[in-house]
Amino acid sequence: MTRHALPDDGPFIRPFLVTAGRTRPVQPTLRVDALISTLPAAASARLAFEAKRVADLCRSPKSVAEVATAIDVPLGVARVLIADLVAAGLVACGPAPELDLPALERIRELVHAL
């Protein structure tokens, strides 16, 4: 019964052609809210169509979820494309801010000011 060892709804990422058949990013999973920004090196890089779309899009930083929506692919596919661009040094993945007390207090101020 080993195949029942996992919860029945495990994550599944459809192996799309655009990801060259790979179903798992080489990097640890990117958070859905991680901000992706295109680096200057991307301007001169030869990129496949989908990767180029991501690089163009993230000239102003976008979250992984926004990238997925904009290029109309499932989250898992966007993650693979982005992870490849990160590995190639063409885009940067923004940091997860440390949610310490001063950071949270600042966020509270900013939310109140909305």
Binding site: R14, T69, G76, I107
Partner: protein, 188 residues
């Protein structure tokens, strides 16, 4: 919050049963109107034929809402709505990873619909606010009674909200940050 690597992002997750107002709440404050999808594998039938050697699985696409609120040039707040069904709970894990906090929306006419989301965020220790969405069908409710019905601990505030109102949503989000601050301050 400024960083050499560009702007940073934080997120708050919105949970609750189907039709409780998650999409409405996110739309009331978001700068964008997107719906994202993920492809997931689900069990096609309950009667798995063991002799076949392979579980009968099928790929399903599940959609989730998200919203973007630019707090300042260096910090973006994202809101993610978790799909109502518990069978998508792995997506809840994905969406909740590293979240600042969570809002669980409840409708007093079917309060039990919020149980799965409530249990989920409570068990993860996510800073949490229960927001009772006001649907204008004249139903009156007492927040104390809601607390009792849900057996909520005192560290989970209950607020009343109108998911259609930006000002109301802003208050709910502020309450979540407040809970996160309280948790963090106690941890020091």
């Amino acid at each position: 919050m400024r960083s050499d690597r560009g702007p940073a992002s934080v997120k708050i997750v919105i949970g609750g049963g189907f039709g409780v107002g998650k999409t409405t709440l996110i739309g009331a404050i978001s700068e964008i109107e997107p719906l994202a999808t993920d492809a997931v594998m689900t069990q096609a039938s309950l009667g798995v034929d063991d002799s076949a050697g392979l579980p009968d699985k099928t790929t399903t696409t599940v959609a989730f809402d998200f919203g973007r609120v630019t707090l300042d040039p260096w910090l973006v707040l994202y809101l993610f709505g978790t799909p109502g069904q518990e069978r998508f709970s792995f997506l809840w894990d994905d969406l909740s990873e590293g979240a600042l906090g969570a809002v669980v929306l409840a409708d007093t006419r079917r309060i039990e619909d919020c149980f799965p989301a409530l249990d989920y965020f409570e068990s993860r220790g996510t800073p949490l606010v229960l927001a009772v969405n006001r649907f204008d069908d004249g139903t009156r409710f007492d927040l104390g009674e809601v607390r009792e019905a849900l057996d909520l601990t005192d560290d989970v505030p209950i607020v009343s909200c109108d998911a259609r109102s930006r000002a109301s949503v802003k208050q709910v989000l502020g309450a979540v940050v407040e809970v996160a601050i309280g948790q963090r301050a106690r941890a020091i």
